[in-house]
């Protein structure tokens, strides 16, 4: 075959070889599908699934709080606020008491109003919750000055 035909062919072949070499070093060794997976949806770097599994858990849940704060857990469980998780107001425990040493409690008015602003929505459970109009009910005051979140019963105020 004539030289002028072969020469571009070598260039193309060299290009393909280079691509394969680069690909060999660039693509992680564990790229593929898990057993039973398919190439349409499951093709990935297999270690990535473990990366996500090792993500740090920050909201530890009521049982974790109970290990030290038994009394407070019992008081909230005996109240209508039993359905509210500790960490919703006290903040995520993360590694408390080591890190953070102190949890900052959200005692703001806005925190209470999340549920207790009355909204007149006939098709939502929201309208069935005890609710106030924040513009009329002691505006500017903090709810926790009068109400105890661990015992919100109005008769025990």
């Amino acid at each position: 075959m004539k030289n002028h035909v072969l020469r571009p062919l070598w260039v193309v072949l060299a290009g393909i070889a280079l691509l394969l070499i680069v690909r060999h070093f660039m693509v992680p060794k564990d790229f593929g599908v898990e057993e039973g997976g398919n190439f349409t949806y499951n093709y990935h770097r297999l270690a990535s699934t473990d990366d996500w599994k090792e993500f740090k858990v920050k909201y530890r849940g009521l049982e974790y709080c109970r290990e030290c704060h038994e009394e407070n857990v019992e008081s909230i469980l005996a109240s209508p606020h039993a359905i509210i998780q500790c960490e919703n107001c006290h903040g995520p425990a993360i590694d408390h008491p080591d890190d953070p040493e102190v949890l900052v409690i959200d005692t703001s008015r806005a925190q209470c109003l999340r549920c207790h602003t009355y909204l007149p929505y006939p098709t939502s459970q929201r309208s069935e919750l005890p609710g106030i109009n924040p513009q009329e009910h002691n505006p500017g005051e903090e709810c926790v000055d009068c109400h105890n979140p661990h015992n919100p019963d109005l008769e025990n105020m």
Binding site: K53, Q85, P92, C115, S124, Q125
Partner: protein, 266 residues
């Protein structure tokens, strides 16, 4: 040895058939092996949202952001809660982080809850309200995820237990998946500079915990379950009660099921 033309053709046909048949065709597989080959693991994570129970407190959004290190103040979130108010004259007020009659005063996907009865700064007389409700939204972890199909580098994928994840080390941040998702669930992570989405708290559910949003919800409006487990309470509801999904017409087979959806919810 004589060989007629007919015999020659016959034998050629038989031999080629026999050689084309791989040895593996004669291998007997145990049912367990077949199950593994066809991708039928024991877990398929699904989500159930009861919009009748949601009160729009937004504690789920807050918990999600803190649990998953989603930047707290930028307008990005893995999950959000929408407020729908439909008036008796047919007019609709919808608050979403992505448009509709977006309410500037209460942005961030309902992260701080809905603490004002005003919508768009307007007072709405209660007697004009026909329906008012809240709809939490999160990634549908589709069975046929459009976002995975468009990824040019294989950085996003569906795990065998049905959760769509993004490989942060491999994502190049091209944003195709963000455009492809019919639900607008994906966004660009401002810190890691990669595509970001709800993972069903993969680090929690694989340890036997509930997702951060499910745990934070006081009203059990959000639930997570395993569709492959017939005794799972979530599975029982999905199988036996009237549930629906969002945007079924896209054919992505979404796996977040809703109770009490309204036709105004898109």
């Amino acid at each position: 040895m004589s060989c007629s033309r007919r015999d020659f053709l016959k034998n050629t046909f038989k031999t080629s058939l026999a050689t084309a048949l791989p040895l593996s065709a004669f291998k007997m597989l145990s049912p367990a092996e077949v199950k593994a080959y066809t991708g039928d693991p024991a877990t398929r994570w699904v989500f159930l949202v009861d919009t009748q129970k949601c009160v729009g407190c937004g504690l789920c959004v807050k918990a999600c952001k803190l649990e998953n290190e989603v930047p707290y103040d930028p307008p990005v979130t893995r999950t959000w809660v929408e407020r729908y108010v439909i008036l008796k004259n047919g007019q609709t007020h919808i608050e979403t982080p992505l448009g509709g009659n977006a309410l500037i005063e209460s942005p961030f996907g309902g992260r701080d809850g809905y603490i004002d009865s005003k919508i768009d700064g307007k007072n709405i007389p209660p007697d004009q309200i026909a329906k008012g409700f809240f709809v939490p939204k999160l990634c549908n972890q589709c069975d046929k995820p459009a976002c995975v199909q468009v990824c040019p580098v294989g950085a996003t994928y569906r795990t065998l237990d049905g959760v769509v994840l993004v490989d942060r080390k491999w994502c190049i941040g091209c944003g195709y998946c963000i455009m492809a998702c019919p639900y607008g669930m994906r966004f660009f992570h401002p810190v890691y500079k990669v595509a970001e989405k709800c993972t069903f708290c993969y680090h929690r559910i694989t340890k036997g915990m509930k997702t951060a949003c499910v745990q934070a919800c006081p009203f059990e409006a959000r639930q997570i379950g395993n569709l492959k487990d017939p005794n799972d309470p979530v599975t029982k509801i999905i199988m036996n009660e009237r549930v629906s999904v969002l945007k079924d017409e896209y054919g992505t087979k979404p796996q977040v099921y809703y109770i009490g959806l309204d036709t105004n919810v898109r």
